[in-house]
């Protein structure tokens, strides 16, 4: 009888740890590389060409021409400034409404669990389908919003200045619950003894809020803000379904039109890259800020 060496002993006990690790991890990594990195390289290559996916004409290499054209196009900058305005309005709104709701819910309220679940309903809906239905709610002639607010024939979506706010309102309605959920998690993690100490010191409600509650919830609120900013920056469906005003043409909509309606594949790949660089830059700034908040 020969002695079993460690390797065959491992074999006798099934797969080795190394094999299991590779078996568990490699498919996911490979999958993500194939469906994320590879397409990105693909479109990077196209961004230097004048390729149009609607024709069979071969792609010509045009160097940085696409990038130069895009960055000097005032309409693209207009799309970016609309997007910035939209992100600012909707994320601010979500933080105020969501955090406010969480503050209200963070006390002894009857049927709290049920209320929390019901408040999450808007988040579960399809943005495109909901956006469509809000068109009916906003309708100047028979929408219930004007009726309940007593606004008569107020134009929400046809008014170029109002339309962006109208879209942001729907976004706030849908995603304030997300901020609420995260804030609730944060609020429930604040140690109770801090409030008791504040009470003994007869600290005012405002003082308690700004000195205890807010600083301790700040990191998780930042996470909510990061997620919502990234998502708002990418907004396509909601705005696309609700309005076709030039004043509501977010960058994602411009990108979609350029790629799949005008079929400027090369040019739109370049724009996609510009957007990508911006998203990564914004995320980085946020994450740096988040780490600062956490360190405090």
């Amino acid at each position: 009888m020969t002695k079993l060496d460690p390797e065959s002993r491992a074999a006798a006990r099934g797969l080795s740890d190394l094999t299991i690790r590779n078996l568990f991890i490699i498919p996911t990594i490979a999958f993500l590389i194939i469906f994320n990195i590879f397409p990105l390289l693909y479109s990077l290559a196209y961004s230097f060409t004048d390729f149009r996916a609607s024709t069979n004409a071969p792609a010509n290499f045009v160097g940085l021409q696409n990038y130069r054209d895009l960055l000097s196009d005032p309409f693209i900058w207009k799309n970016f400034s609309i997007t910035a305005k939209y992100v600012l309005i909707s994320v601010t709104g979500q933080v105020f409404v969501g955090f406010g709701l969480a503050m209200l819910l963070n006390r002894s309220i009857p049927a709290k669990g049920l209320i929390t679940t019901l408040l999450l309903l808007p988040m579960m809906l399809s943005m495109a389908v909901v956006g469509l239905f809000w068109k009916l709610l906003y309708d100047p002639n028979f929408g219930i919003i004007n009726y309940f607010l007593g606004l008569d024939k107020f134009e929400w979506l046809a008014d170029p200045d109002m339309a962006l706010y109208a879209i942001a309102i729907v976004d706030i309605w849908m995603w304030a619950p997300f901020v609420m959920l995260l804030s609730l998690a944060g609020l429930s993690a604040v140690p109770k003894h801090l409030y008791e100490a504040a009470e003994i010191d007869r600290a005012s409600g405002l003082y308690t809020f700004f000195r205890i509650t807010l600083p301790l919830v700040a990191p998780i609120l930042m996470i909510a803000i990061i997620f919502r900013t990234m998502e708002a920056f990418k907004t396509f469906d909601l705005a696309y379904v609700l309005s076709s005003q030039p004043t509501t043409e977010l960058i994602a909509i411009r990108l979609y039109k350029m790629a799949f309606q005008e079929w400027q594949t090369g040019m739109s790949s370049a724009l996609a890259y510009i957007v990508l660089i911006m998203v990564v830059a914004i995320t980085n700034i946020y994450v740096k800020y988040l780490n600062k908040v956490k360190a405090r």
Binding site: I25, P39, F133, F260
Partner: protein
């Protein structure tokens, strides 16, 4: 929060309760309105003042599933009497159900097919994303991986891209390999999209499961695989449920990729419903019916797993 003690606190607590209920009413009004509209006859959908009390009808749902055309001549009394109740409803609305010339079969609107597509694609991609994510999370949690943090960041970063950015090259790739307008094509896309989220949430959960559990199982003569399936996996179920809710919601509601990558064969409901508005006067009752039906699966799924969801969410959130 500290318990209610002074009269002033009692008063503020009451105000808070009222405020919560007002907020709840405002948040739920649009959803209630969708539900109410989907049971209205067409002429009551767009009245001012809004119709609140009405005789409910299922005619919007009948219309949702059938192909219809404008009625030119009133149907004869016999024809009307011979028709099934749901067809009579369509007659009453001034339309008729379109039938196949030869077989006389009722032509469907396509909503049913889109709904089925949504179900197939969302369920399969959720299962794939959660199971692959759980395995990968276990791999990262229990074994040494060179450059672990970098890999995890790479996995997360795949979620940062706006869908439209990825859509252009994916569209071209899919066209080459013939995955455009197929179920498999969307399943792969949604799995890739949800996988990063799944790995991250599951890593948090599995990190929390004590290693001693598996070590004890290994001592008892289990293999690593058996220990994983019989000991770790049952402990991770809450996390998997919470992850599944989020993956399902995302896949169920996805619009941009579905709009770009599908046509007739594999189209899901989110791009289909808005396309039914058309240029004329839209029938809002049908759109409401389609929206309400579409909400039901995701609401049921979330409701069933709600406790896992709330626990899973706060868990993952606090850990970060």
């Amino acid at each position: 929060m500290a318990g209610v003690r002074t009269p002033q606190e009692k008063w503020t607590n009451r105000v808070a309760i009222v405020a919560v209920f007002v907020a709840l009413a405002i948040m739920l009004t649009p959803i209630y309105w969708i539900a109410a509209t989907s049971f209205k006859p067409r002429n009551l959908a767009t009245t001012i003042p809004p119709t609140v009390v009405f005789q409910p009808t299922v005619s919007p749902f009948v219309k949702l599933f059938t192909k219809r055309s404008q009625l030119r001549d009133q149907p004869s009394a016999e024809e009307y009497a011979a028709a099934p109740w749901w067809e009579q409803m369509v007659f009453d609305g001034g339309e008729k159900v379109v039938r196949n010339g030869k077989t006389g079969e009722v032509r469907s609107s396509g909503y049913g097919d889109r709904f089925t597509n949504s179900l197939i694609i969302s369920i399969v991609s959720t299962i794939l994303a959660v199971s692959m994510g759980t395995l990968t999370a276990y791999g990262f949690s229990r074994f040494k991986v060179a450059g672990e943090d970098d890999w995890l960041f790479f996995i997360l970063s795949t979620r940062m891209l706006p869908p439209v950015v990825v859509a252009i090259p994916m569209f071209l790739m899919y066209r080459v390999v013939g995955l455009n307008d197929t179920h498999l094509g969307l399943i792969i896309l949604y799995t890739a999209f949800n996988l990063s989220f799944s790995v991250w949430i599951m890593k948090g959960f599995i990190d929390e499961i004590p290693r001693e559990y598996e070590e004890a199982a290994l001592v008892d003569g289990y293999t690593r695989m058996q220990a994983f399936f019989k000991v770790v996996l049952p402990e991770a179920l809450t996390g998997m449920a919470a992850t599944a809710v989020f993956c399902f919601i995302t896949a169920w509601n996805e619009y941009a990729f579905a709009l770009i990558m599908t046509n007739r064969n594999a189209q899901t409901a989110p791009p289909y419903i808005p396309s039914q508005v058309g240029s004329g006067l839209p029938d809002w009752t049908v759109i409401a019916a389609g929206t309400l039906l579409f909400l039901i699966p995701v609401a049921i799924f979330t409701f069933l797993l709600r406790n896992h969801l709330l626990r899973g969410m706060s868990f993952g959130a606090i850990r970060k």
